[in-house]
C-alpha cells in the first residue's frame, strides 16, 4: 500500500514538472526532444475510453521500456474499480492507472475529454496532445478504417528528433466534468 502511495506521490510531482513546461512545444521552432511518457485521461464508464483500451495496450507494449503510459481518471479511481477495470480489459502493469479526482493532472494539462492523450518529451514538453487517432470523428461515429494515427506518428517523428507532423488535435469522447467552483475551460 505504501508503495502505491509513493508511486502516486511521485507521479504528482512528475506531472507538476511536466505541466510547468507543457506550453513550450507550441513554439514549432523548439527542438522536439525524445518522447518519454504518454499521459492519457480516461473514464471507466466512458464507452470511447473502453473502446480504445486495446489500442492503448498495444501502444504501451510496443514502446515498453522506452515510453511510459499512465492513465489518469478525473472522475476518480478506487482500488476496487481499478482492479475491475484491469481485469475486464486485461490491462498489463506497465500501464499505470491513477486516481485524479482532485483534478491535479486534469487541470495542469487542461484535459477536457476522455480519452485525451499528451505525449511528453524528456525535457518535459508536450510534443503532441489530443486524439489517439482519427477512429472517432464525432461522438458515437467512428470510421470503419483508421486513416490517421496521430499519436504513433508523433512518437515516431519525435524519436527521430523531428517535430510531430501534427502537434494538436481535438479529442473525441466523453467530457470531463469540471470540479464545482472551478472555471477550467470546457469544450
Amino acid at each position: 500500500m505504501a508503495r502505491f502511495r509513493y508511486i502516486a506521490l511521485l507521479l504528482v510531482v512528475v506531472i507538476n514538472s511536466f505541466a510547468q513546461h507543457h506550453h513550450a512545444s507550441e513554439d514549432n521552432n523548439t527542438p522536439a526532444g525524445k518522447p518519454i511518457a504518454i499521459i492519457i485521461f480516461m473514464a471507466v464508464d466512458c464507452p470511447v475510453t473502453q473502446k480504445y483500451m486495446n489500442t492503448i495496450k498495444s501502444i504501451a507494449l510496443r514502446y515498453q521500456g522506452e515510453i511510459s503510459v499512465t492513465g489518469y481518471f478525473p472522475a476518480g479511481l478506487t482500488r476496487k474499480t481499478e482492479k475491475q477495470f484491469r481485469r475486464e480489459y486485461n490491462i498489463p502493469d506497465i500501464i499505470s492507472l491513477v486516481d485524479d479526482k482532485a483534478h491535479q493532472a486534469t487541470e495542469k494539462f487542461g484535459a477536457t475529454i476522455t480519452p485525451e492523450v499528451f505525449l511528453i518529451s524528456e525535457s518535459d514538453k508536450v510534443l503532441y496532445s489530443g486524439a489517439i487517432d482519427n477512429w472517432f470523428f464525432e461522438l458515437g461515429r467512428y470510421r470503419v478504417e483508421i486513416t490517421e494515427n496521430y499519436l504513433l506518428d508523433a512518437i515516431e517523428a519525435t524519436k527521430k528528433g523531428n517535430m510531430p507532423p501534427i502537434t494538436r488535435t481535438e479529442a473525441v469522447g466523453c467530457f470531463i466534468q469540471k470540479l464545482k467552483g472551478n472555471s477550467t475551460h470546457q469544450h
Binding site: D45, C46, E88, R141, V144, E145, F175, Q177
Partner: protein
C-alpha cells in the same frame, strides 16, 4: 386606472420572477431525465452509465448539456419537424434550454418531493414466446466491428398472429443494432453464426424472405405494437434471422439476445402487411455507386389501394448520406413520411407513426436516397474508395424503404392506441 396599473405590475413581476427562477434537479431535471433518459441510463441498462441520482447526473453535467444541445442524445435521427412518431425520443427546445439553464446555475439540487414518483412507464405484459439465440456468441476483444447473422427457429406449429414484437439485447453494452427477418423456407439455417464478411452469405441472400424487416432495433427502442384488432402473421415453422451489429470491444464479451413475440389476444380482423420498396423500384438504374461519386437514387412506387401506414423503416449501409420519403396523392397533395438528413448506419430503426397515415390509391411513394462514396466521407469502408454494388454485407449497399400497413378502412386516421 391605478388598479389596472397595479395589476399589470403584479402580473408582470410574477412572470418575471418565474422566468428568473433557477431550475433545480428535483423540480426540473429529474422528471425530464426520468421521461427521456432513465429507461436506458439505469444500472444494467443499455446506456453506458446510470443517471438515476443527483450525484450521477451532476458527475456528467457538462456532458449531458453537450449531448442534449447537439441532439446526440436522446438518439433520434428523423427530422421531428416533418413527421411525428410514437416511438420518438426527442427533447423539446425548451427542455434543452432548461438543462443549459440548470448547468449555468451550478446544478442546484433543490428539495426532494416525496409525493412524486418517476418510475418509467414500462409495460409489464409478459411475452407469449421468448426466443433466445440458440447459443451464446463470444465477440472478439480486438476492437473490431462485428456484423453477424443468427438463426432462431420459432418451431411454431401454426401460422401465428402477433400483436407486438420486441428485441432484447443479451449484451446491452455491445449490441449496437439489430434487424429481425423472417424465413419460411428453413433454407437459410446455414447462415447461423456467420459473419457478414463471409462470402457464403451471398448464397443465402438469393432466397426470398417471408419478411425482410420484421423489426429494426436500436438502443432506446422498446417493442413495436400494432393497433387493436390488427396483427402480423408469422408463418408456421418460420425461422427468425437476426442480423446483429456488435460495436467494437477491447474486452471479452458474450451475447445471447432474445426476440419476444406477443400473440394477438383479441380477434384479428386485419392483417398487418409489409410493403418493401427495393432496389428494383429505383428509377435511375443501375443501383451501382462508383468510387468518388455522390449519386442520388430515386424510387417511385405506385400505390394501387388505399393504405393506412403504421410504420416506416429506411435502410442503407455505411455510405448512405440522407433519406427522404414522401407520397404524392392523385390530388397533388404531398404527404411527408420521413426525412433523415444525417444518415447513420448505426442508428437505424423502425419509425412508428403517431397516428395511421392514409395514402390514397393512385398516390406515388417517392424516395430520394443520397450516397457518398468519396474519400471525404469518414464512413466510407474503403480507403481508397471502391465501386460498390448491391449486397447484404454492410460494405455493400442497399436501398430499402420498409412500410408496415393495413388496407385502409374509414376512421383509421382517428385510431388512438
Amino acid at each position: 386606472m391605478q388598479q389596472h396599473v397595479l395589476c399589470f405590475v403584479l402580473i408582470f413581476s410574477h412572470a418575471w420572477c418565474i422566468g428568473q427562477t433557477k431550475p433545480t434537479y428535483y423540480k426540473d431535471i429529474q422528471p425530464l431525465l426520468a421521461k427521456n433518459c432513465i429507461s436506458c441510463h439505469k444500472p444494467g441498462g443499455i446506456g453506458p452509465f446510470s443517471l438515476q441520482t443527483y450525484n450521477e447526473v451532476a458527475a456528467k453535467g457538462n456532458f449531458i448539456g453537450h449531448v442534449t444541445k447537439t441532439r446526440y442524445m436522446p438518439p433520434w435521427k428523423a427530422d421531428p419537424d416533418l413527421q411525428i412518431f410514437r416511438n420518438q425520443t426527442t427533447l423539446a427546445q425548451a427542455e434543452i434550454d432548461l438543462i443549459q439553464k440548470w448547468l449555468a446555475a451550478g446544478m442546484p439540487k433543490g428539495k426532494k418531493s416525496k409525493s412524486k414518483s418517476f418510475s418509467t412507464s414500462e409495460q409489464n405484459i409478459k411475452p407469449d414466446l421468448t426466443l433466445p439465440m440458440v447459443t451464446s456468441y463470444q465477440l472478439t476483444d480486438q476492437a473490431k466491428e462485428d456484423f453477424r447473422f443468427f438463426v432462431i427457429p420459432t418451431n411454431l406449429t401454426a401460422n401465428t398472429y402477433i400483436a407486438a414484437i420486441e428485441f432484447v439485447p443479451g449484451n446491452r453494452r455491445q449490441v449496437h443494432h439489430s434487424r429481425v427477418m423472417v424465413d419460411s423456407t428453413q433454407k437459410i439455417r446455414g447462415i447461423d453464426g456467420m459473419s457478414e464478411l463471409d462470402p457464403r452469405v451471398k448464397e443465402f441472400q438469393v432466397i426470398p424472405l417471408a419478411d425482410e424487416f420484421l423489426y429494426g432495433w436500436v438502443p432506446g427502442n422498446t417493442k413495436i405494437f400494432f393497433p387493436p384488432g390488427t396483427a402480423k402473421k408469422i408463418p408456421q415453422g418460420a425461422d427468425l434471422i437476426l442480423n446483429i451489429h456488435y460495436s467494437p470491444t477491447s474486452s471479452i464479451q458474450k451475447d445471447q439476445s432474445v426476440v419476444n413475440l406477443y400473440y394477438a389476444k383479441t380477434p384479428v380482423n386485419r392483417e398487418v402487411k409489409t410493403l418493401t420498396l427495393k432496389e428494383s423500384d429505383i428509377r435511375n438504374q443501375p443501383f451501382f455507386i462508383e468510387a468518388e461519386r455522390k449519386p442520388t437514387f430515386y424510387m417511385d412506387y405506385p400505390v394501387r389501394n388505399d393504405l393506412s401506414l403504421i410504420s416506416i423503416m429506411p435502410h442503407m449501409h455505411f455510405i448512405g448520406k440522407s433519406f427522404l420519403a414522401y407520397a404524392i396523392t392523385p390530388a397533388g397533395e404531398k404527404i411527408q413520411l420521413i426525412k433523415i438528413d444525417n444518415w447513420d448506419f448505426n442508428w437505424q430503426t423502425t419509425y412508428q407513426f403517431k397516428q395511421l397515415i392514409k395514402i390514397p390509391a393512385g398516390s406515388r411513394i417517392r424516395v430520394e436516397a443520397k450516397y457518398d462514396n468519396t474519400s471525404e466521407n469518414p464512413m466510407n469502408p474503403n480507403t481508397p474508395p471502391k465501386d460498390i454494388g448491391y449486397g447484404w454485407n454492410s460494405t455493400d449497399e442497399m436501398c430499402n424503404l420498409v412500410i408496415y400497413y393495413l388496407d385502409y378502412e374509414p376512421g383509421d386516421e382517428l385510431i388512438d392506441y
